[in-house]
């Protein structure tokens, strides 16, 4: 945008902004749920107060163990938004895979959200059991088990998705366990059995977070909800995880403390309600 060299314009802009502000106060803000717009949700992965940069050994957990992360992936599904009047808007059958290595995956967009003031959001970390056991033909997009390449998010031996995967390196990992001192924690288990075997534990977790600034969906406002996701909580949550002893998790039963930790790692940092 260029600003023209004229006082007239400044004055008109000032007047316009003042009149826009005053209009806002005077006009009755009519919320028509038939009018829809989109809501985007940004997942900004962090480690404590620091940014998350893959491959950087800049972090330390509560056990005092330094570590670097090489992978952080998780599924988000069953999102719902709660209006200030308590009514809940659900977004079923939408599955998203957030990957730290892929910036585009960190912003997800919900379409056709009815106008309203939303003050709380809720979502599941993982893939619900009904979807997990549905025919392969219904599991497309983020759920396409052939689409992960070397960054697998599916256990073929358990017919289940890996809900969250965190991998990295730490000097705390005994070299006798892993020559490269790497760790890997894969959390899954939707509570079903496979081929008649015993049911796994259910590590599906639902997260509910308030929004201090309401997301005000209008015909001309498509809010952006900016979440902070603190990966440090995976180690430092209600259950303290030491990489010296817990560095290789691939079975649902062992993963429950980790799921209980990451359930608490999400926070709505701020909401943008910019007019379009």
């Amino acid at each position: 945008m260029r600003i023209h060299f004229s006082y007239q314009l400044i004055v008109s802009v000032l007047i316009a902004s003042i009149s826009v502000i005053s209009c806002k106060k005077d006009d009755v803000d009519v919320i028509d749920p038939a009018v829809k717009n989109s809501v985007s949700i940004q997942f900004e992965n962090r480690v404590g107060d620091q940014k998350l940069v893959l491959g950087t050994p800049a972090y330390k957990n509560a056990a005092g163990e330094p570590f670097a992360l090489t992978t952080l992936n998780y599924f988000i599904s069953n999102i719902s938004l709660k209006k200030e009047d308590g009514t809940v808007q659900k977004f079923p059958n939408q599955y998203f895979l957030v990957r730290q290595a892929d910036a585009a995956s960190q912003v997800i967009t919900l379409k056709d959200v009815p106008s309203g003031n939303y003050s709380e959001m809720s979502f599941m970390v993982g893939v619900d059991s009904a979807k997990s056991v549905s025919p392969v033909s219904e599991r497309v997009g983020a759920l396409d088990v052939t689409g992960y390449g070397t960054d697998g998010m599916y256990w073929s031996w358990n017919s289940g998705y890996i809900f969250l995967k965190i991998e990295g390196t730490s000097t705390a990992v005994p070299a006798t366990v892993s020559a490269s001192q790497s760790f890997a924690m894969h959390v899954g288990g939707y509570g079903g059995g496979w081929n008649g075997s015993a049911k796994t534990v259910n590590n599906l977790r639902t997260v509910t977070v308030p929004m201090t600034t309401k997301a005000t969906v209008r015909g001309n406002i498509a809010p952006e909800i900016h979440l902070f996701v603190d990966a440090l909580t995976i180690f430092n949550g209600p259950n303290k995880i030491s990489l010296a002893t817990t560095n290789s998790v691939h079975m649902p039963a062992a993963a429950t403390p980790i799921a209980d930790n990451y359930k608490t790692m999400f926070q709505v940092d701020h909401v943008h309600n910019d007019k379009q």
Binding site: F5, S12, Q42, A222, D269
Partner: protein
């Protein structure tokens, strides 16, 4: 209605992004203030303090940027009717994250600005007639050079990865400037318009064009060779949105209007000044940035 058309255009041009790059702008245009008496060269040091609060609605990123700039400034007359001004700023700034209290310093040479003006009209000098009101009009332009570091590494854990918290803009910018002064007896009026046209820096970042304007009234009272000149006025700065890699960031730019109060003191060859600016109306970075009061002082030697 042109004003609504203007806003309509603004909206059309804005591509929404999720980048949260806002923070106090260290790269505000050089503002000249009421300059020491005309027709004399000068060399001095100016000190500016301003601060901003950023990410006003963020639980984790809310911060305050404090910019302290010590600036060498000078004015020279290489030819009749031509004045050249130069500003060499050095910054001692810092960002404080309000949640953790972590402080990130920012120190070093900032962007140098050089301007030349032609004295188009000067009724005091132009003829020998005694005018009730004297007019002085300077028209000029110049450049702002990328002498301040612009390092913007999103993946650095040490830097504040923000294009607005840098020593310079990294770009060569062009400035057009008009300074008008009218004097009636001891009273005077000063108006200053400055437009900065930016260019894209080597990092693919382009700051919005910037338009600063000010109007002030001053009163000069003298005793022997000593004078004092209190002044009051309005200062308005406006900036367009920044563009990164050809994507416009709506959460940049905006306007701020300040009430300006100050005084200049002239002691023979020495000039001292202080000026305080209080924001009275602003909308910066889509409401996510708040400019706080600013203070400028200088000590200048006239020759």
């Amino acid at each position: 209605m042109t004003k609504y058309l203007f806003f309509g255009l603004l909206t059309l041009l804005a591509v929404p992004t999720l980048a949260c790059d806002l923070c106090g702008c260290s790269n505000g245009g050089s503002f000249f203030g009421i300059l020491p008496q005309g027709h004399r060269g000068f060399l001095g040091i100016r000190y500016r303090y301003n601060s901003y609060n950023s990410h006003l609605n963020s639980l984790n990123l809310s911060s305050q940027e404090q910019f302290r700039t010590a600036e060498l400034w000078g004015r020279f007359y290489p030819a009749r009717r031509v004045q050249v001004m130069a500003f060499v700023p050095y910054q001692f700034s810092q960002q404080t994250l309000l949640k953790s209290g972590d402080v990130t310093p920012l120190r070093g040479l900032s962007d140098i600005t050089v301007l030349a003006h032609y004295n188009v009209l000067n009724t005091f000098m132009d003829d020998s007639i005694v005018h009730a009101v004297n007019h002085n009009l300077l028209i000029g332009g110049g450049t702002k050079l990328p002498t301040g570091r612009f390092r913007y590494d999103e993946n650095s854990l040490l830097d504040v990865a923000n294009p607005n918290f840098q020593l310079g803009t990294g770009s060569v910018d062009w400035i057009a400037n008009v300074i008008y002064t009218a004097r009636y007896k001891n009273w005077g009026l000063n108006a200053d318009l400055s437009y900065r046209m930016t260019t894209t820096n080597p990092n693919g970042y382009r700051f919005g064009n910037r338009f600063n304007s000010s109007a002030s009234v001053f009163y000069l009272t003298s005793l022997n060779r000593r004078s004092i000149m209190p002044n009051a006025g309005l200062f308005v700065e406006q900036a367009g949105h920044d563009v990164r890699d050809k994507v416009m960031n709506k959460q940049t730019g905006g306007y701020a209007a300040y009430l300006n109060l100050g005084t200049e003191v002239y002691l023979n060859k020495l000039s001292l000044g202080i000026s305080y600016r209080q924001p009275i109306s602003q909308y910066l970075s889509d409401g996510e940035l708040r400019a706080n009061a600013q203070l400028t002082t200088h000590i200048t030697f006239l020759f």
